[in-house]
């Protein structure tokens, strides 16, 4: 891809709906990290959701309508950086499938080519270096399904954590197993989803780490919601926020 040759000077940021409404501080941290890595960040107004909830629930027309709206907001040929493996996977891997029968499918495919997950972009394109200013801490890592199996960016995310010399990364049992969120899955099959998140919490507790870090707010909403409900001591944080807090001078 052309971006690999040169570091771009400008990127678009796609915030995602969960970050917009529930985790805005994650979005701000991601924007600041990108700026610090040396690119101008444009966060277009009017963006909402990638369309995945409808796409996964049997409503492709509704998904297309919402996807088209997002696509229209990123007119220039800049890379589009997304702080979520799942939303990035939707836009990169699934838009071409969703629009496969449409007359403008090649333009959609070109849009999808411009999608990057945040840590993928920071590591592979910007060769971002971090200096840890935080106290010693031990954390564990949960891989979101689509960051791992669609975007394939887990090594990028972990390499950022490994750059933080005061952070020790403890392995999580079944790290790449789904936490049970799955968007509408969590409410369409609530019993199975509950069994999955219970197991995930148990595995996190077993690590003894003080926090679990992940790159997807969907997983974090699910795991932290269950941790709070079940009065577990597990704390969850998005990678962007965790890194930003440890690397900027206040």
């Amino acid at each position: 891809m052309s971006y690999n040759q040169n570091k771009p000077d400008t990127v678009y940021f796609f915030g995602t709906c969960l970050v917009e409404g529930l985790y805005p501080e994650v979005g701000m941290a991601a924007i600041k990290l990108l700026s610090k890595a040396g690119v101008r960040v444009v966060f277009p107004r009017g963006q909402t959701c990638c369309g995945q909830p409808a796409y996964n629930s049997g409503f492709p027309e509704e998904a297309k309508k919402v996807a088209r709206h997002q696509i229209s907001l990123f007119p220039e040929d800049h890379p589009i950086v997304v702080p979520s493996g799942s939303c990035a996977g939707m836009m990169k891997v699934h838009y071409p499938i969703l629009f496969a029968e449409e007359p403008d499918q090649s333009e959609i495919a070109a849009f999808s080519e411009r999608i990057f997950e945040l840590s993928e972009f920071l590591v592979r394109i910007m060769e971002f270096r971090l200096a840890d200013l935080g106290d010693p801490v031990s954390v564990t890592w949960h891989s979101s399904c689509h960051a791992a199996r669609e975007m394939k960016v887990i090594e990028d995310s972990k390499s950022l954590l490994r750059q933080l010399h005061n952070v020790s990364l403890v392995d999580l049992e079944n790290e790449q197993q789904c936490c049970g969120f799955g968007g509408t899955f969590s409410v369409k099959q609530p019993d199975i989803s509950a069994a999955m998140v219970r197991d995930k919490l148990e595995a996190i507790e077993k690590t003894g780490a003080s926090e679990v870090i992940s790159g997807d707010c969907g997983c974090l909403l699910n795991i932290s919601g269950a941790a709070e409900y079940l009065k577990s001591s597990v704390k969850c944080r998005h990678l962007a926020e965790f890194i930003w807090e440890r690397t900027h001078e206040s």
């Binding site: 915030g15 917009e20 409404g21 529930l22 985790y23 805005p24 501080e25 979005g27 701000m28 924007i31 101008r40 960040v41 444009v42 966060f43 277009p44 107004r45 009017g46 909402t48 959701c49 409808a54 796409y55 996964n56 629930s57 049997g58 409503f59 492709p60 027309e61 509704e62 998904a63 309508k65 919402v66 709206h69 499938i97 399904c145 199996r149 669609e150 197993q177 789904c178 049970g180 799955g182 899955f185 969590s186 409410v187 369409k188 099959q189 609530p190 019993d191 199975i192 989803s193 509950a194 069994a195 999955m196 197991d199 909403l221 699910n222 919601g225 269950a226 709070e228 409900y229 079940l230």
Partner: protein, 473 residues
């Protein structure tokens, strides 16, 4: 199980409440995952093998009518009689007619998922013939009066204690023992007698080679070889999709089949059956029959997306890796094929109107697609079946049955909210002001069964970005 009315939600609850089941499954699945991983320790080679095998299966399906004709022709030349069954009823009738016309009463059976599709045992029992399952796992669940809960390891939901109790209760003069070797010896003794006495053996087929007219049968216990060589009559059951063109296409598929299924480089037995006993040969059946079952496969073949379902070689690794299967087990799926492959195959065979919320029983985590040896895009096909369930113009049997006015209206509203920025802003604002006061009913209620209520942020990212002067265009 199929004779009880299917109630997916209830099955799920019962399975999740069964701690023993969860423990058994977890241990077994984690072992199989580890064995597979240890065997396929070269990712590049694995990927190459998957590409090759996927291409072989795709080509076989593209040439299916021609290959089936060729298979029939070559089997015929080799002395194997080929029978065609469009439906399960026809398949059962063919088997019964063969057995009745030769006055067969004693039948041993090897493992066959197609025979499960046909509910063959039930049918034959009604007609006075009780086949004995000779695969150890199948034998165990036949004693228990159950159905397989896994494609490869049918009794995986049982631990040795449960098996010890079954043997003690059902096999005369059997003391209670939990020693695996002793349990094996008990089963072997019972089965041996039946192998000697049986007049017919029934088996499945893992793949058939069109150019040579060969039936391939993979197994670990030797019971498959007994079933197909000791009795005078051998009846092989096969879904029409299992044919490949050339003998040279067998090795890559075989390597992936055994490796994906159990992490074995190769199984203890691999049977190539190309004819009945020839003059001068000392063993083998005097008759070999091949029953080719369609049972909806031709309809699946006709769909340019869903046909990929038929690439499946029934290794079961998608079950082992599925976070849903490993929690609810095979019986909860109600029909013959559980796990991710069942989630796409069952609605197509039975109709989405029959399978209730089964197509929703996937978080679309992609674990199945990542390991599928023939690269079936299972999550994409699950999405497609969900689409069909919500749309009367879908092609899957029973399409549109999952559509409700309420849900359609919700998604229409959602699409509007997320394509009109003004509306979205208003919605986000309302969410941050009143979200926490929403009643915990409907989807939110289900969310809150095990999670606290999501708390909307006081400021949205759009608001924060404006305050901090982030570029907007």
């Amino acid at each position: 199980m199929s004779h009880k009315p299917f109630n997916f939600r209830k099955n799920v609850r019962e399975a999740l409440d069964n701690k023993q089941l969860r423990g058994n499954l977890r241990f077994a699945m984690e072992t199989m995952i580890r064995n597979r991983k240890n065997l396929f320790n070269d990712p590049e080679r694995l990927e190459h093998l998957r590409e090759t095998s996927s291409a072989i299966r795709s080509k076989s399906l593209a040439l299916l009518p021609r290959l089936l004709e060729k298979l029939e022709q070559n089997c015929h030349q080799n002395g194997i009689k080929v029978h065609w069954a469009e439906t399960v009823d026809q398949g059962n009738r063919i088997v019964l007619d063969i057995l009745n016309s030769r006055n067969v009463k004693r039948v041993v059976k090897g493992k066959s998922m197609v025979s499960e599709e046909m509910h063959l045992n039930r049918f034959l029992e009604k007609n006075g013939i009780k086949p004995l399952e000779s695969d150890l796992g199948e034998y165990i669940i036949q004693l228990a009066g159950e159905k397989p809960s896994h494609i490869i390891v049918p009794a995986i939901h049982k631990n040795k204690k449960e098996i010890a109790e079954l043997f003690h209760k059902h096999i005369p003069d059997t003391p209670y023992t939990e020693k695996v070797e002793e349990l094996n010896a008990i089963a072997r003794k019972v089965l041996r007698k039946h192998f000697y006495e049986a007049e017919a053996g029934i088996s499945g087929v893992n793949m058939a080679v069109a150019e040579t007219g060969t039936l391939c049968l993979v197994e670990n216990e030797g019971n498959g070889r007994m079933c197909t060589t000791l009795p005078q009559i051998h009846i092989a059951l096969m879904g029409i999709e299992k044919v490949v063109e050339k003998l040279e296409e067998v090795p890559p598929l075989l390597e992936l089949l055994t490796g994906s299924a159990t992490g074995q480089r190769m199984t203890t037995y691999f049977n190539f059956i190309t004819s009945p006993r020839k003059p001068g040969e000392k063993d083998g059946p005097s008759e070999v029959h091949l029953v080719l079952l369609d049972n909806g496969r031709s309809t699946i073949m006709a769909d340019k997306q869903l046909y990929e379902t038929l690439k499946c070689i029934r290794c079961g690794t998608c079950l082992n890796h599925c976070p849903v299967y490993t929690r609810i087990g095979g019986h909860a799926y109600g029909y013959v094929y559980p796990g991710p492959i069942g989630t796409i195959l069952t609605p197509q065979m039975e109709g989405v109107d029959k399978t209730q919320s089964l197509p929703d029983a996937s978080s679309l985590c992609n674990a199945c697609a990542e390991v599928c040896p023939v690269k079936i895009p299972i999550p994409d096909l699950i999405r497609r079946i969900r689409n069909d369930s919500k749309s009367s113009s879908g092609k899957t049997k029973g399409s549109g049955s999952g559509r409700s006015l309420m849900e359609s209206a919700v998604w229409k509203g959602w699409a509007l909210m997320n394509s009109k920025p003004e509306l979205n802003r208003l919605g986000m604002k309302a969410g941050s002001l009143f979200g926490q006061y929403l009643p915990k009913t409907g989807p939110l209620g289900k969310w809150c069964n095990i999670r606290s209520m999501p708390v909307p942020a006081k400021k949205t990212l759009h608001m924060m970005a404006d305050e901090e002067g982030v570029d907007r265009d």
